[in-house]
Symmetry: C2
Subunit: 356 residues, 2 copies
């Protein structure tokens, strides 16, 4: 995370003179046509005769005309942009989701702006305000707190929202999620089958729905196996990052061997990778001393020091579906809000199953 120490060289140069923009009016004058015609060339090229169109296009090129999107949007009332407000841009899981969003948006001729809340509620709120003011076509969001009143306000004022990676019962918007409770169950059942008794759950903060649901799934698996849910040893983290994972690893490795869990289920892969790294460097063997299960199955999970067992989610599909729901909402007058839920899948690797 920290940047290297460096001594930059700086080279100075002169500044270019400030230019000024040409608008439709100037183009119309240069081409000898009216304002309306220029606008037609821009928006409905087929209605203007090839000759005039050529003249106008030439004028635009020679003046370096750039359409003023603010004015366009003000008058036309609609934006060609869609935003994805991510929980953490540093987590490859979300960038993969974003990839799916971009794919669907591009197919519909829209562009995507990515915003990063970094698990910070204030930044999330600020971005939501900003996007609403920008009158974007719609907002895809993986929220920090799904009960935020702001999340309900936007749709009621005309900015459609789709919640990604969280399923809400609110009737104000669509949501696309993966069954996190089931994911937690899969992870823990797997560990129980392998004979683990003392199992830790590493995750936090518990304002994040994902963290809570996966824990609940873990508890359910324990109950199903006839053991009290309190058997789950909880290690709470401040965020879902590699650094926090390392911290948890430190705490975990510090426990006396007879009380230390023999397996850890982490709320996401970043935590798992940090935990793995720290534990290995402190001398624990994975999976012999400590089995680890992650969540998300990001690309780096497979390439880790010990390839990571993880719960896989359909990342791009999640993003694509969410974007499609949003597009439907803003184009289809008969749109009905939907809650789509996908099913996760356990991918077993060396970090739990040691012996191949």
């Amino acid at each position: 995370m920290d940047d290297a120490e460096t001594r930059p060289e700086r080279i100075r140069r002169r500044r270019a003179p400030k230019p000024h923009a040409a608008g439709v009016k100037a183009v119309a004058a240069a081409a000898g046509v009216s304002l309306g015609t220029v606008s037609n060339v821009l928006n409905r090229p087929e209605v203007v005769s090839p000759l005039t169109r050529a003249k106008v296009e030439a004028a635009m090129a020679s003046l370096g005309f750039v359409r003023n999107e603010s004015a366009r949007q003000l008058r036309a009332g609609s934006s060609r942009i869609l935003a994805y407000l991510m929980l953490d841009a540093g987590n490859p899981f979300f960038t993969d989701v974003a990839k799916g969003v971009e794919e669907a948006a591009q197919a519909a001729g829209l562009s995507v702006f990515l915003c990063n809340s970094s698990e910070d509620a204030d930044r999330e709120a600020a971005y939501l305000d900003l996007l609403e003011q920008q009158r974007v076509q719609g907002v895809l969001i993986t929220p920090i707190d799904q009960n935020s009143s702001r999340l309900r306000k936007l749709p009621s004022r005309g900015t459609p929202i789709v919640v990604v990676d969280r399923a809400l019962d609110e009737s104000e918007h669509c949501s696309v999620a993966v069954n996190d409770v089931l994911g937690g169950e899969l992870a823990i059942s797997h560990l129980l089958e392998l004979g683990h008794e003392r199992i830790a759950y590493v995750g936090g903060p518990s304002t994040l729905g994902q963290v809570v649901d996966r824990r609940d799934g873990a508890r359910r698996a324990l109950r199903t196996a006839g053991r009290p849910a309190t058997d789950l040893i909880e290690l709470t983290t401040g965020a879902l990052t590699v650094a926090e994972g390392r911290g948890a690893g430190q705490r975990l490795a510090g426990l006396p061997a007879d009380r230390r869990p023999t397996a850890a289920f982490c709320a996401n892969d970043l935590l798992a990778l940090g935990l793995l790294q720290q534990c290995v460097s402190l001398g624990l063997r994975v999976p012999e001393d400590l089995a680890i299960v992650g969540y998300d199955d990001i690309e780096f999970a497979e390439a880790a020091a010990v390839p990571l067992t993880s719960v896989r989610q359909p990342r791009q599909l999640l993003g694509r579906t969410a974007a499609e729901l949003l597009l439907d909402e803003s184009s289809n007058p008969d749109h009905e809000h939907q809650r789509v839920t996908f099913t996760p899948e356990l991918v077993v690797r060396t970090s739990t199953r040691g012996t191949l």
Copy 2:
């Protein structure tokens, strides 16, 4: 990269009625004041008396007023937004750079929109057009092709640009870079010191300046050591991704042992991680059979199957500096374009130095 196969459940709900927006005019009427006063409450709260301000604010709240940013921008002429057009949002290096950008922007009270070109020239061009039309305050960009004419056009029309992670001689804009030639030299010198003779360079496409510069540095190190630059065995990839790295690993491991390089220098860590993973799974030992050096020192490099030797760059600092240059350009009338160059640093780990 591929999404898991899943059978989603879809739950349908009724749709909410379409709302309609209230503008300053409605607020003014509701509060019994003039348009101008509402605008003052919004932009210069200190000039309006506490009583009127309260009335206006109450009216805004009860009407659910949301400022129309398009209209604001059209009239006021300035945007509060800054964009970072990334080369690859899936590469943690760039999301770290973005973090630095956001930090600096937030300090200046601006917001950042992230755009992702995914190493696709068409998407890059489309985003540049879009951002110019949006009249953003400025654009930070890690370009695919630094000779693109569009890169020169934007500043000449009033949208300031700062090039990130590339140093250009163009006088039209600032740039912030890390000395990639030096980085390549560091990597290869290290490998030469370890006694390697057959060294591969894995990278591509060569439209990317980073790929070319790092290769040039590698060649220079060879020449310095008294060996012809052609000794460098080049494995060209189609992109800087883990998947391409795996492909390169496949090709490399397929070579007969007596002609196979004993060391590989990869143009970035994603390639290196893919290469590492593939080679290990094909039975090569790292670093005994193949030493690997990456580039960027992303967070996952240290947690890899074999901790990766890599060339570290000051990621966040890069972003922060770029944003600061941009802010200076758009606020300081005496701004001079600058070319800032940072110095990279080699971080040696197990993937080259095996014996700790």
